[in-house]
Symmetry: C2
């Protein structure tokens, strides 16, 4: 394999983002009749399902706002973000301002607001959009939503929780991890003390509680006492999730000028990718069991687009900030694997779901969980220098 | 491929059941300290998780009771059923008699009674156990649980439902299908009119409402108006589920001497297996989308043990009752595929989860969903003549 050239790689991601990925979503995802976005798109961009999932509606608003704010102030991009936001404001929340999980095409609620991540992505979307529009409504929604998240964070599923209280109280990695990234995303609308406290707590949770130095991995669920609970949930490892959190931590370390934290995050990221890498067929496993038992997730051995993108961001940032050669080697390996397996020369964008061998499992470009988010977010993170 | 011999095949299943499958569970699954059964067993029978899932606890009580009632009145089998029942009676229900979804090893509740199928398998277990024990407590629990199922059937998830009422009201195939089988299982403890009405309604639901003659398949979810709703849930097909329901219908047709219904069930079963068969790698797909879109289930292309067992029962019964040669051909094909891919010469029992190519995906013999149920139930159904 030829050694990659950093500036050439950046050019490649810039053109992939601006000439391939973004045009794909602009062309295929707008619902001009009811507003919002289609996200269920076949290989060639044809819509195969019209339901609207709040995670993905919000993430797409964020993406186009972010492009406007960080890459170029194109009215087309801001208008595309605005049209999604308009649909969300009209239909996305219940009367208390909690975000539904999904709506039908017309905007009627399908699934109740049981999922706190809908709110997380809504706060992220309206916070980023507000940067561009300075519209006080956008500010207000972002703030109110963030308040709800803080109120709900101790019991995020509320009445929809199926866990029997008290028998095995676990805390889950996803929420502190997302909140840590979220406060950085919407720092401009938050009280600075809240930002500082949340970041401090988030770094501690991620790097000291969920990260287990004895095992060299991040657990997805730990007891309230911080211990590993020997159960399906307690043994679960999601290497991509851990890698994503490590570049969040690197961003915080960069912001704080904390070199020690940067070194630690880089070290953990390398541990995670070595742990999660499939020695037989390449790529990173989706789920693993820390004791090597069969995971309950049947999709455990599949190779998912976002896992590989998050890993690549972590390796890019790790290399950029520490110069660690192992990060660059992994960046190259991930880059080559991803373009070979996830890339689609013919119709653009990336496939989302491959089987263990790296063959396309589902030919979709977008679905219930894959939208206009991870691919553009990653490409822009690889190529910081060409941003505004 | 050599043409199979029916009586030799029956002998093979008899010995596989009595010398391999049942000894595997007797040897590895009993929790002698806390009662109940371990179901999370590795390839060699070693326990890898101790949580107790009500579906599987109940199904194992059913299996050992059924063996006692139908194969041979061995005290060892009845005692093994009794010990599971004792654990279930002590820990399985909340104060209203609703069945939890799961317990920890000691019997403390982990997951609330949100899942009506826990109750279905409990009624089935205690109904079958009562046949053997004549213990009025077992009768009472089976009856009360069945009453709860009937009360809950219009809104099975109750307060745990995440669907927003009214936007897209779907009815699901699983419940009427299971209830139709359940009333036949526990007929001896029910009012005859209730049995007759439930069976009549169940046959209508399965063969006229969820079965779509225009498409030649059974849908997993239809509107309350019986229509196909073009959404992930509405387009979902689970060929194994449909095949399972067809042998339930064949049992009803046999009982009622209804040859027309037997022919119809056989015809539908053949349509389903032709629809669900993987032409490229053999085996039956787990999930499909009736419009050929990507299903949301990432495990859609995997080959599951129960799917192949239910299909084989349907083909065995279809051949037995109608003499349709296509059923026998499929029986042979399924038999050969299954023993080659699911069978484990070294440690016995069957693997549960294969990838699309038929390679072992998870090396477990039991887990959260696979217990001592489908394999023995199928083997005994293939070999009716040697039962008591």
């Amino acid at each position: 394999m030829a050694v990659m050239n950093i500036s050439k790689t950046k050019e490649q991601y810039k053109s992939a983002l601006l000439e391939n990925v973004i045009p794909f979503w602009l062309q295929h995802s707008g619902d001009e009749e009811y507003g919002g976005y289609y996200t269920c798109l076949n290989r060639d961009g044809v819509v195969f399902d019209t339901d609207k999932f709040i995670w993905l509606q919000c993430r797409q608003v964020w993406t186009f706002s972010m492009l406007y704010n960080q890459v170029s102030p194109k009215e087309e991009w801001l208008n595309f973000a605005r049209q999604g936001a308009k649909f969300l404001l009209a239909h996305g929340m219940d009367q208390e301002g909690n975000w539904y999980f999904s709506l039908n095409r017309e905007g009627q609620p399908l699934i109740q607001p049981y999922n706190i991540f809908s709110d997380c992505f809504a706060a992220m979307a309206f916070g980023q959009l507000y940067k561009a529009t300075k519209n006080p409504k956008h500010l207000q929604v972002a703030k109110k939503t963030f308040d709800h998240i803080l109120q709900r964070q101790k019991n995020p599923k509320g009445k929809y929780s199926k866990a029997y209280p008290g028998t095995r109280n676990l805390q889950s990695f996803a929420l502190p991890m997302i909140i840590t990234n979220l406060v950085l995303e919407i720092e401009h609308i938050l009280n600075q003390d809240l930002v500082t406290d949340t970041i401090k707590n988030g770094i501690d949770m991620v790097t000291n509680k969920f990260y287990r130095s004895d095992l060299g991995i991040i657990l997805e669920n730990i007891g309230m006492d911080g211990n590993l609970y020997d159960s399906f949930e307690g043994r679960l490892v999601n290497p991509g999730h851990g890698l994503e959190s490590m570049w969040f931590i690197m961003d915080l370390a960069e912001k704080q000028g904390d070199k020690k934290l940067m070194q630690k995050a880089t070290k953990i990221a390398l541990q995670l990718i070595e742990y999660g890498w499939d020695q037989k067929h390449d790529g990173i496993f989706y789920f693993m069991d820390v004791k090597g038992n069969p995971p309950q997730q049947l999709e455990w051995d599949q190779k998912l687009w976002w896992v590989h993108l998050e890993a690549t961001i972590a390796m890019a940032k790790g290399y950029l900030h520490t110069g660690n050669k192992a990060c660059w080697d992994w960046f190259e390996k991930l880059h080559n694997y991803s373009w070979e397996h996830f890339g689609d020369q013919q119709y653009g964008e990336w496939y989302g779901y491959l089987n263990r061998r790296g063959e396309v499992l589902l030919p979709l470009k977008g679905g219930k969980w894959k939208g206009c988010f991870h691919v553009p977010r990653a490409f822009i993170n690889y190529g910081k220098p060409w941003r505004r």
